[in-house]
Symmetry: C2
Subunit: 120 residues, 2 copies
């Protein structure tokens, strides 16, 4: 927690969902439900095994996801969003909404700039 000397708990929430992969992992687990390690790999062909492991471990550490190991051979490990993790959903939904609107906003802006080009 010493990463954020400045007050402001926004950063605490931010840390749960930032990174190149976390939002995508969360999306898959929230929308698609429980998934095994290699299922996630298949869903995200560009992530490396290492990055997937690291991200899952972090999310687990933060109680956002749950990891269940079935002592079989070959091993089976299932990941799912935790009850606590579900409390992030409204936030993620709002962000999704805002993101959509922002894409519109920027599209509009581009058009305006394009139209203004006759003035240059």
């Amino acid at each position: 927690m010493e990463k954020h000397p400045q007050h402001c708990q926004v950063v605490v929430a931010l840390d749960m969902i930032v990174g190149k992969w976390k939002p995508i992992i969360l999306q898959h687990l929230i929308i698609g439900g429980t998934k095994r390690f290699n299922e996630l790999r298949r869903l995200m062909p560009d992530i490396t095994q290492r990055m997937l492991t690291l991200n899952l471990r972090e999310l687990e550490e933060q109680d956002i996801i749950e990891r269940v190991v079935y002592p079989e051979v070959p091993p089976r490990v299932e990941y799912s969003i935790s009850e606590y993790g579900k409390s992030l959903e409204p936030l993620l939904d709002s962000m999704h909404e805002w993101g959509m609107a922002h894409l519109e906003h920027m599209k509009k802006k581009e058009k305006e700039l394009g139209a203004d080009d006759k003035s240059s």
Copy 2:
């Protein structure tokens, strides 16, 4: 926008507020109102001039903040949250709330682990 091949507009919203400094800059502009470049520097003693410039430029690019230059000498440049930028406030508030609650959650968890230590 090619940074996010994967659907999911959460990342778009995320980009407006992530980074080591952006949440803090936004906080100052939202809570404290219009600020000059060096005022922000004083408010964030650890940021370098370069990082402050880069972050402000990005936020401006994204229409989140406004930059007004007064053609005086020495120059005066004022930064403020834009009307559009204000649409982020509910999001930031929710994140703040969630962050607070999460700190509580983790504190509770730590205590539990501490109590469990007698069992090891």
